[in-house]
Symmetry: C2
Subunit: 359 residues, 2 copies
């Protein structure tokens, strides 16, 4: 069967604030717009370029908060302005996905799309794209919700898990349940069983299928956004969305759809994935020097220090001696020196001390 | 005997680079021009204002490197421009003192002056000024070199010591010798004996007396700077100094004069003095919070940290957790995080890593 690739789309979700990456990530310029890896490109740019080798810019959409529209244009000048669809409020990924699906359905009733976060990294790009194409092809011909299931390498308690049926021997495995972030013992059990995968939050489906799922399993979101479907992909869309979107319930697509749906599949993948959720995940991800230290900033001198992550402006000279196990993030207006093993506190530190212009 | 106060002058030495206070102190704006104490005034401004209550601005001179003339004008707008005398090269305090004496002698043959560093702090200002007046009065009527001898409070190995004759019971004690920085055992012996004082580098003498001392004990410096005494205090002085001054030997006034002179006296004083020579001396000097931490910067949050010194821009939000015994100095282009007990290395760190625009 020949697949008509012209109906394949990508939607990049870029509305988050990245509070766990504070003070590098800010309300006005969150993580996805930063060169967190120190490679000269922002995470959203890396995400865009990754997809660009299989989907042209004209069929890549970004769904983001309205505050980030101009940042998005700046980072992704190739995509048409109308491909940046903007949320007037942050209502989590449920309404975000539904809005994107309504828009794509209006653009192309046969639209099949992958929706993915803008701020993850994927090392094995070829494997990733191969699986994305498999998933798109499957979703084009089946009323299926397809996810990528990351082969777990450790009993991580920071991710949700996808449970597959034990007897599934297909490339696409049927999903029997979604599991929230487990405790360590449960995570270890998941790892041993071999039937559990990390939920990377990357989903593939046709606009028609996911809207059917919303209609059935999240009728409140569906009905609000379906108030006047004639508005989608017209000059009246933004006013319409500004009016109805904020009234949708704030809920993740996992809760709204995935945990209820019966037509969910996963493709187990090994793609060098990280959600870069925290400074520690960045530390784990990036190549370290012999002292187990990650330096982002070209002008940093570490003396007798180890197990640190230091992020600064490339032009700033940083000299650190005898420091062990710290995150050092130096921004123009904020300096954070924080023990690595307490990084889960940073989100709270941000909200406690960041008020007054530092959020 | 009535003293004619109109012949009393102050010369503030402000030519140093403050390398041990790097990266706060820079070649282009050294320590004396910084608000190191976080009180809203630079050290040179504090020094100037201290003397201003006994000597008018018209009789306060600053002797500094030519690079710092405009900085000096900026910090001390009250003093006449001709009172800023500028060295074309850094030749240590010997030539600096001799030049200042030649200039003052040309301005006022009866000049008596105190010459003092610009970057020390003195807590007990009234006691200090009282002793300065005693010293000026004495030097006005005697061919004496008068120093202030700081009552030592600890066996400090970082200062030179002034030894007084054991039988001296006068306010002014005759100095029997100057001792270079001692080892700890020697410093402890000095402290026990009661006849030794810290040399604060604050000297009082008449221009005539100190020039006689130079002529006798440092004839090389004297003869170079006396090549054409008619140039002093004229429009030709700067060109003349630019030509002869760099040929003087680079030597401290301690070595050039004080160690050789027989007419040296000291006034033992307890004036709350610190030379603020290093970050640790600043840490020792400034009021600390309950965690033994000094914060210079109004927006610094220390959590579970102790025994630190943190200097940042007042507007910068700094959040530090679990740090013990570190100096943190954050400048716009340099961040230094260094163990307090290794601060003697900072001068070397500066010259090793500061090249390329950070000195």
């Amino acid at each position: 069967m020949q697949n008509d690739l012209s109906h394949y789309y990508v939607a990049i979700m870029a509305g988050g604030v990245g509070s766990r990456f504070w003070p590098a990530s800010r309300d006005q310029k969150p993580k996805q717009f930063l060169d967190i890896l120190g490679v000269g490109k922002s995470l959203i740019r890396l995400t865009f370029e990754r997809f660009l080798s299989i989907i042209p810019a004209e069929r890549i959409l970004v769904v983001t908060h309205k505050n980030y529209k101009s940042l998005t244009q700046e980072h992704l000048p190739e995509i048409p302005e109308q491909n940046i669809i903007t949320e007037p409020s942050r209502n989590n990924t449920g309404p975000c996905v539904a809005y994107t699906a309504f828009r794509l359905q209006a653009m192309d009733p046969k639209a099949v799309f992958v929706i993915a976060p803008s701020d993850h990294v994927i090392l094995k790009e070829d494997e990733f794209l191969e699986h994305i194409k498999e998933a798109l092809d499957y979703a084009a011909h089946n009323e299926a919700i397809v996810t990528l299931g990351i082969q777990p390498s450790r009993p991580d308690t920071g991710y949700g898990y996808i449970e597959t049926s034990e007897d599934s021997r297909q490339i696409l495995k049927r999903v029997s349940s979604f599991r929230e972030k487990p405790d360590l013992a449960t995570a270890e059990e998941y790892l041993r069983s071999g039937n559990y995968y990390w939920n990377a939050g990357i989903f593939i489906w046709s606009a028609m299928t996911i809207l059917q799922n919303f209609k059935k399993d999240s009728p409140d979101i569906y009905s609000i956004l379906a108030t006047d479907v004639s508005k989608y992909n017209t000059s009246g869309e933004q006013d319409y969305i500004d009016s109805v979107y904020p009234t949708t319930p704030s809920i993740s697509v996992d809760y709204a759809i995935l945990e209820k749906a019966r037509n969910v599949f996963t493709i187990p993948v090994d793609i060098g994935w990280s959600d870069l959720g925290t400074w520690n995940s960045l530390h784990a991800y990036i190549d370290k020097d012999s002292d187990d230290t990650v330096l982002i900033g070209e002008n940093t001198i570490m003396i007798d220090s180890k197990n640190c992550l230091v992020k600064t402006d490339p032009d700033k000279l940083v000299i650190i001696k005898d420091l062990d196990g710290f995150i050092v993030v130096d921004e123009e207006d904020v300096l954070l020196i924080y023990p690595k093993n307490k990084e889960q506190e940073i989100k709270q530190i941000r909200s406690t001390y960041g008020k007054g212009g530092y959020l």
